[in-house]
Symmetry: C2
Subunit: 453 residues, 2 copies
Amino acid sequence: MNGRSKVIIIGGGFGGLNAAQALKSAPVDVTLIDRRNYHLFQPLLYQVATGSLSPGEIAAPLRGVLGHQKNTRVLMGDVRDIDPVSKRVLLSDGASFEYDSLIVAAGSQTSYYGNDVWQQWAPGLKSLEEATNIRHKILYAFEVAERLSDAAQRRAWLTFVIVGAGPTGVELAGAIGEIARQTLRNDFRSIRPEEAQIILLDGSPRLLMSFPEDLSRKAEQSLAKLGVHARMGARVTQVDRDGVDLQINGFSERLSSKTVIWAGGVTVAPLGKILAKRTGAETDRQGRIRVGPNLTVANFPDIYIVGDLALSADKNGVPLAGVAQVAMQQGTYAAKAIIRKVQGRPQQKSFEYFDKGNLAVIGRAAAVANIFGVHLSGLPAWLVWVFIHLMYIVEFQSRILVFIQWAIQDLTFSRGARLITGSASSDFNFDQEIASQKLTPKVTRDEVSVKVG
Amino acid sequence: MNGRSKVIIIGGGFGGLNAAQALKSAPVDVTLIDRRNYHLFQPLLYQVATGSLSPGEIAAPLRGVLGHQKNTRVLMGDVRDIDPVSKRVLLSDGASFEYDSLIVAAGSQTSYYGNDVWQQWAPGLKSLEEATNIRHKILYAFEVAERLSDAAQRRAWLTFVIVGAGPTGVELAGAIGEIARQTLRNDFRSIRPEEAQIILLDGSPRLLMSFPEDLSRKAEQSLAKLGVHARMGARVTQVDRDGVDLQINGFSERLSSKTVIWAGGVTVAPLGKILAKRTGAETDRQGRIRVGPNLTVANFPDIYIVGDLALSADKNGVPLAGVAQVAMQQGTYAAKAIIRKVQGRPQQKSFEYFDKGNLAVIGRAAAVANIFGVHLSGLPAWLVWVFIHLMYIVEFQSRILVFIQWAIQDLTFSRGARLITGSASSDFNFDQEIASQKLTPKVTRDEVSVKVG
């Protein structure tokens, strides 16, 4: 055992990974703990969900990324508790680790605002498993529709509802629009994929509320061209197997849809609630923990909170959003603060978020961007988007693969990763699904023959 | 409804897909039915299992491949029965389709020789789901070992047993050897990945029985360099959670291993048994159906069987192996026979297999090949292997992506697709696994600190 200062980082997302990397040459022993063995590039998760990219291309094994960093150890494990008094982290298998400094970057998860039963019908988009599940649902809906003759049933299978019109919801809706209009154009014989209805719902008065108003309008126009119908001011009151109930402009409405995706809201990871209880820290409605100007928890100067779990404000007092940029800058700040402490140097000045701007992509060669206050849309915004995303992908190999896939897709309209995987016996059985729902197979007994020519 | 001849193809593997493509310009209506929505390039499945490639790179959506072929329709469905008298195919959802000609390319599945309970401990390698499951098992074993202090437990987690020394078993063993020796070299702090034991078992007297003897020897030497211990003449008598029992040279032996992979044998798909019953056709021990010289079933000249399900012989009377080459040539042959029949032209001569040779790869830049009787090994064989595999990958995009991944891996020893995915709550929970097995976590209470330097 040596006497070096021990730093534990909980979470290998943008905040945790940036903190670990910023500690690379520091005279400390770093332990990064994550339930997953990989860092996930969440901003491109919607491209996995829509078959543009494969899971491996947006995920980087943490051991691979940090393997050459000699002062750092990666542990795969689930943190169950934190004792801020004895300064220990407890895993659910009983192992416990002491720290001198702790960086909590546990992130957030999808929130259904108390209606967790909706999750089974409307998956969120926070993990690779959810992304492949959503991909499966989207492609599967076209497969079922291809075999149905009943118009109403078919319409429900070809209606896609996305709840939440932030960047994720907008990007997802745009990508589904592209799949329907372009990618699957020649793939089916009975249905016309452009029959698909794509409906984007949000309770806010406009989409992309975090963007300037002119860009919201531009985004809405671009989405409309891809067949996406944005319906704002809509409150979802029920989600079930066959669709959603809404309240919109004082009226109740029912949307029949077999594919509902939840991009609606987030809450903190469960560990956040535990930590708030242990430290007595103040939290907001989402469960985020209030941090001081140097990102530590009140009364616990050795516990830093970064990323989605931290409640910190910009210089105007507006709470910072849960985006990668914030988490990365906070992770680096916390690491530097620890280095100064270990070296006995005075603390740096308060954390200040440097906002480089906002980006959302809407289908091929179209996006909206607010970069340092400059509003861009269409192709220029898209090029900025491509450049920035490629730049921030962690692994060199992934960067190349993603670039090539995008290039090929833009030339051919094809999507490489259109697989419906999953065990045929358990979670997915096409025929059982059709049979159990008493659907009307379209092509029984040769009543309908192949359309040729 | 038009009066064109109806061709149904069951299965979108090498045989079925080649048949469909050979019917491209024929005056027939083609329906290809598969439970999956993609064609799988099975020879590279072991690379998905060992983290070199992503599932999307070796699978091509059938609709994408056949979308531009106007006389062809793709249906996702599960064929439950075939009525050769009324000439109908019945799906499990109740839909039924009439055919004039039927090509059955239903393929094969893993056989445990009557011990199906072994499957839960020793997955086979026939599907993408199995490949990602095996990848998960391999990487997970290293993660667990990293956290154990008990030497015997650790050894069991670091012992990998592959049952079956055909090309799949050999390629898998070589790839695991590479992972242990090269890819994970810098990734762990407590274990040394080269501690891993990789044991390749087979009942035959030598590995790669379908290859000439000198190449078997070369393959064994190449494997030995990667730390793979080939033990021939070994019969597996039991597989359970903690390892395998063997009979070898008259002695009983127990191998403790947490990762057993079954590359041991195949049997026909369940539909094969049904078809044999319905047609009264002769079958062999594996359940393959005897076909005539033009690949049809006795008494049913409109039913062609191609690929792994067909029992046909080369000109010396030796049964053809269940490999891609055979299936592809048979699929094309069956398609041509149907075209001639529809056009009223005389039948072509009997099917004759044109054997281009055998290939197996053993790690990086090493392989064995028997090409038209020329025996190659080492780098030349590997180059031939790379060229042939890239040539036969169906989609242009996949071809490029696979090429780049191989190039990067050969330069950097890294593997892009090292993700442990799967739901943390259900099929995979690292901590529960450790806790439930009463394993000894290595790093409890800071007894062991990070190794630095």
